[in-house]
Amino acid sequence: MRPILDIQALYKSFGDAEVLKNINLKVGEGEMVFLIGPSGSGKSTLLRCCNRLEEPTSGAIWMDNTNLLAGDTDINRMRQRIGMVFQGFNLYPHMTAEQNVMLALRRVQGKSEAEAREIARRELDRMGLAERFGHYPSQLSGGQQQRVAIARSLALGPRVMLMDEPTSALDPELVGGVLEAMREMKAAGMTMLVVSHEMRFAREAADRVAFMQAGEIVEYGTPAELLAREGGRARAFLGGEH
């Protein structure tokens, strides 16, 4: 399988603290890869390096024959092909759901108002939010807000989605809707790199799982492989019910 995202020898330090050490990871087309591991192990940092919200110290991240970390890479152009979903949604509170989705379509992709609106409505509709176009974030539940945020990313037509704990700020009864949306994205062929503590969902839906510890990927494989590995730390993690 041809990798969409190819992370090679990636290092990242904050001052003296080395937070990512020699990360190598390939994410194939249509794959859903989970990053799991203890708190502080560097999962979020790795994800944020993949669209350069964090600047890595060294290494390479290849996507479509472009090294995202090269000095001459137009990162704003590449970011349209790399969607990101945040734990806290980060919707724009002063814009309606529809306007949230339309903003980058208009400003970054230069689409006309009408075209942007059509795309926004289509994506929100796909997320089950057809009734909510005109609602402000403050008028939506957490689960609805996160689905607006997903629609905002998908609308730009990304090749890969980065998701950092997309359900952990949600009340338990709202988690299902967002996981369902992720399942549908995968079924539609979207490539996804996901940090999550939803282990049941990881076991069932992930193609590969990377287990991180202290800034390194220490175990990597399909959920079944990791679960079968005697004495592996990932096994205890992945087998857990949280």
């Binding site: 704003n76 349209q80 990101m84 945040f86 980060n90 903003l103 980058a104 400003r107 990313s153 730009l156």
Partner: protein
């Protein structure tokens, strides 16, 4: 003392009629000076707050000192300093522009502080969300961060703006013919207090609607929350 005497001295129609043109002229000066101060002060203040986003650490410290000094010094002291000091070094500026420069600088200092607090109050996640969709820093600022920051700023900003704009009345100290000055002149010519009462009413007519507008702006930006 009886009512007719009160009316005679403070609400004298004849005096009012005689000096109305002068007072209207003064009001016009006050309003136009105010508009110029508000426009320049707010623009300069915003520009300084934005500059602070990219300034190195020592630059920020210099700017903070400048801003805090302008917030600490009485406007009248600056006005007198510029008005009486500058001509001796070969710079003659009319009273109107001395007031304008002083109040613009002072308003910009207060505005910078308020805008900056507003910018700081926007969570980093807002920047990150916009940047992750490929928007540039400038686009993020214009479309995502500033609209939210403005909302936070409005109450303080309008209060300060109105408070500082009222200092246009200080023009009278250096003989600039604004509303208060015209009223004082009229008072000494007529020997009657009516012009001063008219000036007070004039100021209320100018500033009370501004205060009401401030309250309205505050209420009108609630973005779906019932305010």
């Amino acid at each position: 003392m009886d009512l007719s005497r009160l009316i005679e001295v403070y609400f004298n129609a004849g005096v009012a009629w005689t000096y109305l043109p002068d007072l209207l002229h003064g009001a016009w000066v006050t309003v136009s000076l105010s508009v110029l101060v508000i426009a320049a002060g707010l623009v300069l203040g915003l520009a300084m707050a934005l500059l602070r986003l990219v300034l190195p650490r020592w630059g920020v410290e210099v700017m903070r000192l400048w801003v805090d000094c302008l917030r600490a010094v009485p406007p009248l002291a600056v006005i007198l300093l510029l008005y009486f000091g500058l001509p001796s070094v070969g710079l003659s500026i009319s009273a109107f522009w001395v007031i304008w420069i002083t109040l613009t600088l002072i308003l910009s200092a207060f505005a910078e502080e308020i805008f900056w607090a507003g910018l700081e109050a926007i969570p980093a996640g807002q920047w990150e969300a916009a940047r992750s969709t490929g928007m540039t820093q400038r686009q993020t600022l214009a479309d995502v961060v500033l609209p939210q920051a403005f909302k936070i700023c409005v109450p303080q900003l309008t209060n300060r703006t109105i408070g500082i704009t009222k200092n246009t009345a200080l023009g009278t100290a250096i003989g600039m013919p604004e509303l208060l000055n015209e009223a004082q002149t009229a008072l000494s010519f007529s020997g009657n207090a009516t012009p001063l009462i008219m000036a007070a009413i004039g100021y209320l007519i100018i500033f009370l609607p501004l205060m009401a507008l401030a309250g309205y702006l505050e209420r009108s930006m609630s973005w779906g929350k019932t305010a």
